[in-house]
């Protein structure tokens, strides 16, 4: 097992690593200034798997134990079929899968898939919407993105769901080619609508009677 990457649900201790990857992804999309997330806001809004007790062993190497991006994984971190991997913070809005390098390469977190559950009304079934997929450029071409998508596909089946969905910029041919190769369907007949910022406030204020709350 030592030469294979490991995928597990993020715990609270992984927040610094998640934020690091979010910033790298934003930089990759030339939008580094758009990142407003902080460790605190991520801790408040994401769902996490239970933390493992990280007993810091007495001998040596305390130099790497607090490095933000290199927190050691829990000693037994098999993936989602184990109860250890199940997120338990019900109040969060999204979950994160993290991919760590094999043990013999240092077990650093180098990839993530951040997602939330969606819903198909006609089937009355949940699904997964993949919001962000990112593998550090240095570790590309190893199939890590595919592994993360595969884990998400398994998770959809595990929750008796129907679909794995995500979005892609239309000009991003390399990504679209990769997704086609996986067998994904492009939803070309649909367009997304979004209301945010001032338009959202105006829309909210237009209503006279408040929602019962």
């Amino acid at each position: 097992m030592s030469d294979r990457p490991k995928i597990h649900f993020a715990t609270r201790e992984d927040v610094p690593a998640i934020l690091g990857l979010i910033k790298e992804l934003a930089a990759y999309e030339n939008a580094a200034d758009s990142v407003q997330a902080t460790e605190a806001s991520l801790s408040l809004t994401l769902s996490f798997a239970p933390s493992k007790h990280r007993h810091s062993h007495s001998h040596g190497s305390s130099s790497d134990t607090n490095h933000a991006h290199n927190t050691k994984p829990p000693p037994d971190a098999p993936f989602s079929s184990s109860p250890h991997g199940q997120p338990t913070q019900a109040s969060g809005y999204a979950k994160t899968l993290l991919l760590r390098l094999p043990e013999d390469e240092g077990a650093d977190v180098v990839g993530m898939a951040l997602y939330f559950h969606n819903y198909s009304t006609w089937r009355a079934k949940p699904g997964i919407y993949l919001e962000d997929l990112f593998v550090q450029p240095k570790y590309r071409k190893r199939g890590y993105g595919t592994l993360l998508i595969q884990e998400l596909a398994k998770e959809v089946l595990r929750i008796d769901g129907g679909r794995l969905e995500w979005s892609c910029l239309k000009w991003n041919e390399p990504s679209l080619a990769f997704y086609r190769k996986l067998g994904a369907e492009e939803m070309t007949e649909w367009v997304g609508l979004r209301v945010d910022g001032d338009a959202l406030k105006k829309l909210a204020e237009g209503k006279v009677e408040a929602v019962n709350s």
Binding site: I22, A124, G143, I149, L157, C168, L203, V208, E209
Partner: protein
């Protein structure tokens, strides 16, 4: 058409008692889109997968886990329109929370919006969308989002009037059915170690 006075209707989170109405509206919506045969939902599966507010406790705390919530729009107990049934269920909006990573903020994704045929043209669709906009603000979220078929000119014009922008640069991707199972099981070319 003149907009219905907001006091004529009430919008509230669905409780488990509303399941039959929700299922009926899902079927009506599917029928409207000529897809009745695609509806697999049943009262039992809706009960198992949706989140409901408590029935009669005086507050609408959601306590059961579920994957989506529903807003129900009901007529007033003394409706103005002739032939309107008091307290009739006139429409719904089914939604779930989404998430914006860069802002680390939730949002609302509107999955289904439906107003019953007898009650159209009164502004109820807009009221439901406005209620969802309020929901976004209530959870300190950033966005209200949904999707529309590209050829649906009249709906797109309506959404434009609400201040929505079209995400024209993006395309949705979907894995389901056999393709989903193949990816999960590692049965595609790209998954066989050489990517």
């Amino acid at each position: 058409m003149a907009e219905e006075a907001a006091s004529q209707v009430g919008i509230s989170y669905a409780t488990a008692d509303d399941i039959p109405h929700i299922l009926a509206m899902i079927r009506e919506l599917a029928s409207y889109e000529k897809c009745e045969h695609k509806v697999e939902a049943t009262e039992a599966s809706l009960k198992a997968t949706l989140t409901f507010a408590q029935t009669s406790s005086g507050h609408t705390q959601h306590t059961n886990p579920g994957y989506a919530k529903t807003l129900i729009l009901r007529l007033a107990s003394t409706p103005q329109h002739l032939n309107d049934e008091p307290n009739a269920v006139a429409g719904m909006a089914m939604f779930f929370n989404n998430y914006s990573t860069w802002r680390s903020k939730p949002g609302v994704y509107l999955e289904d919006l439906y107003v019953r045929e007898s009650y159209r043209g009164r502004g109820y669709g807009k009221m439901l969308i406005q209620a969802l906009a309020q929901e976004v603000l209530r959870i300190e979220g950033g966005r209200l989002e949904w999707s529309c078929l590209r050829w649906n000119e009249s709906s797109l014009a309506f959404y434009d009037g609400l201040g929505a922008k079209q995400m024209l640069d993006w395309v949705g991707l979907r894995l389901e059915g056999r393709a989903l199972e193949d990816v999960a099981g590692g049965r595609k070319k790209a998954l066989n170690g050489d990517a």
